[in-house]
């Protein structure tokens, strides 16, 4: 728990704390780290380690799903090696939660997060939003459907990356929001009009080149392209209250008792870390008082669907559906 003064301050303001207000971390922690955006999570971990010389931080790195499976397997074997699990997608966190391995987080910590991102047993760290990147020489934002279910019938040429994990999470959200049948029909219609790419940066680049009018991709690919190529002919459009503007998140789970894992999570929610990941990785801060990445509208102006992100762990039916309709 935070010292009483800080707790009072936090409950009133609900803005990101500074690292200066946090207790020093002392002791040994083992963190399982799923692959993140480039090496920037490593920069954060290095900074925390350097600031806390009495912290002995052991890190095991690997693909997020593989680490989640390892944690479950270790638990079933009566072993616990990880104190924390930082995952790039919430599906893996759902797997851990469903096994009853995540410990409850204190309310003063979860209250730091924006209202839609408060969970009892895990903490989102940063977000990413599904977007419709479009070619600005061919379209305006008004030309892009604001209903994701209408995209296949829009008459526009479309790029997508159906083998890509983020796209599959988006389809999972659609399945949960619209149902199996509607999602299957949507996939079938899309399959007839869409051009496939291996990854979503490839989709954004194809939009910019004019190979397709628009595409499906996480927001940061467009922002990063525009950071490197300011005159890039691509911009972002958003759908309204459907899977097309799903906000997914990276998140962290505490797997052991004690203050140390919890206080470690507090460091990730500081305004310094949130600002760093916003400015350097173009990820969306999920605590109040930290600016979103340049080029992205405030989340408050977008209407993402209300969905429990851990339900996105239910990926198997999505893959089955995508295979059934011939998309995978």
């Amino acid at each position: 728990m935070l010292p009483g003064g800080l707790l009072a301050q936090e409950s009133q303001a609900k803005i990101a704390l500074s690292v200066e207000e946090l207790p020093a971390l002392e002791g040994e922690l083992t963190l399982y780290l799923g692959r993140g955006e480039g090496g920037l999570y490593e920069n954060v971990l290095d900074a925390i380690q350097q600031r806390n010389p009495a912290l002995e931080l052991n890190i095991r790195r690997g693909p997020t799903a593989a680490l989640a499976n390892a944690i479950v397997a270790e638990s079933r074997a009566g072993v616990r090696r990880a104190n924390l699990f930082w995952a790039v997608d919430t599906g893996a966190i759902g797997l851990i939660s469903n096994e009853g391995l995540a410990r409850e987080l204190p309310q003063d910590l979860t209250n730091q997060l924006q209202a839609n991102f408060r969970y009892e047993k895990w903490s989102p760290i940063t977000g990413r939003i599904r977007t419709l990147p479009y070619n600005t020489e061919r379209l305006t934002a008004a030309d892009v459907p604001d209903d994701v279910m209408a995209v296949p019938d829009s008459g526009l040429s479309i790029g997508w990356a159906p083998a890509y994990a983020s796209f599959q999470s988006f389809v999972t959200a659609m399945r949960l929001l619209e149902g199996e049948q509607a999602t299957g029909e949507w996939l079938q219609k899309m399959d007839k009009v869409a051009r496939s790419y291996a990854g979503e940066l490839g989709v954004v680049m194809a939009v910019e080149r004019g190979e397709v009018d628009m595409g499906f991709a996480n927001h940061y690919y467009t922002l990063r392209l525009k950071a490197g190529k300011p005159d890039a002919t691509v911009d972002l459009a958003f759908t309204n209250n459907d899977a097309g503007c799903l906000v997914n998140a990276s998140g962290i789970v505490a797997l052991s008792e004690g203050d140390l894992p919890i206080n470690f999570i507090r460091y990730l929610l500081t305004r310094e870390v949130q600002s760093f990941l916003s400015s350097e990785a173009f990820e969306i801060p999920l605590v109040d008082g930290v600016a979103p990445p340049q080029g992205l509208p405030d989340l408050a102006t977008i209407q993402p669907p209300d969905i429990n992100l851990t339900r996105l762990a239910d990926l198997r039916p999505t893959l089955d559906l995508m295979r059934d309709v011939g998309v995978l």
Binding site: G199, L201, R209, R224
Partner: protein, 268 residues
């Protein structure tokens, strides 16, 4: 001055070898065997195998010279290679030379099958012998690294930065050439796409902020140029040229990312 230059060249070769020694478990056609984890103890065996291979190939070439195609079985050239432990030792340690050996083996075999003049066959045989000796040298160097613990350290390393990831991408591209030289085009293409999706795609976001055109070039290389060359049955040299051009671009990418990292603000 000459000494300094050659010393510098030698250091660069060694650094290149360390960087290129493969970082994950190899997948030779047959069982790899524990010997690859104790190269130093098997150097004598590998040297004997290289000499034996050279003698065997020389005998096949001599028989061809005496009696033409009907006097030899060209398949034997590849079968000889499959019998030696040196095969796994080089595959698991220095993939670029491994590719050259396969290229040499198929060069000899195809020259026989096409009933080329003996002079052409001898040219192919010389190239094969050169790659075998080069391979033995690489394994000896790898044995030294292994003894000093350097190779083991590299094997256990998971990339923790985009720069390290790009190094792994270069190593995997060497493996693409090796598998293509081994006449396994589907496996080669599979490595290309896996490398793109599990490695390169993860650093594209960082790289595109530095040089969007470079990312565009590499995207095309990964998704079009290289797989099409392999699927279109281009020569091994042509595929190697594409990979070398990609590695030049990756070197530029690495330099850009190193510079960006040096200029990145601190977290706290």
């Amino acid at each position: 001055m000459t000494f300094k230059t050659s010393q510098h060249t030698g250091i660069m070769v060694i650094l290149g070898l360390i960087a290129t020694f493969f970082t994950t478990a190899a997948s030779a056609n047959g069982p790899i065997g524990d010997h690859v984890n104790d190269l130093q103890s098997h150097l004598g065996e590998y040297a004997e195998e290289v000499v034996w291979m050279i003698e065997q190939v020389d005998e096949i070439v001599a028989n061809y010279e005496r009696g033409g195609l009907t006097n030899v079985d060209p398949e034997q050239v590849v079968e000889i290679w499959e019998e030696v432990n040196f095969h796994a030792a080089i595959e698991s340690n220095y993939v670029p030379v491994y590719a050259s050996i396969w290229q040499g083996l198929f060069g000899v075999r195809q020259a026989i099958e096409a009933q080329q003049p003996i002079a052409e066959l001898r040219t192919q045989q010389d190239a094969l012998e050169q790659s075998l000796w080069q391979g033995l040298g690489a394994v000896k160097l790898a044995a030294q690294f292994q003894t000093r613990g350097l190779v083991a350290n590299i094997e256990n390393t998971v990339a923790t930065s985009p720069v390290e990831t790009l190094t792994q991408v270069g190593q995997l591209l060497d493996r693409v050439v090796a598998k293509y030289a081994e006449r396994l085009p589907e496996e080669a293409v599979s490595i290309v796409f896996d490398t793109y999706l599990t490695r390169f795609e993860g650093v594209e976001g960082d790289l595109i902020e530095q040089d969007a055109d470079l990312v565009e070039d590499l995207e095309v290389d990964f998704n079009v140029t290289l797989p099409q060359a392999i699927e279109g049955a281009a020569s091994v040299d042509a595929v190697r040229d594409i990979v070398n051009e990609m590695k030049t671009k990756l070197n530029r990418a690495r330099a850009l990312l190193e510079e960006a990292e040096a200029n990145r603000p601190s977290v706290f």
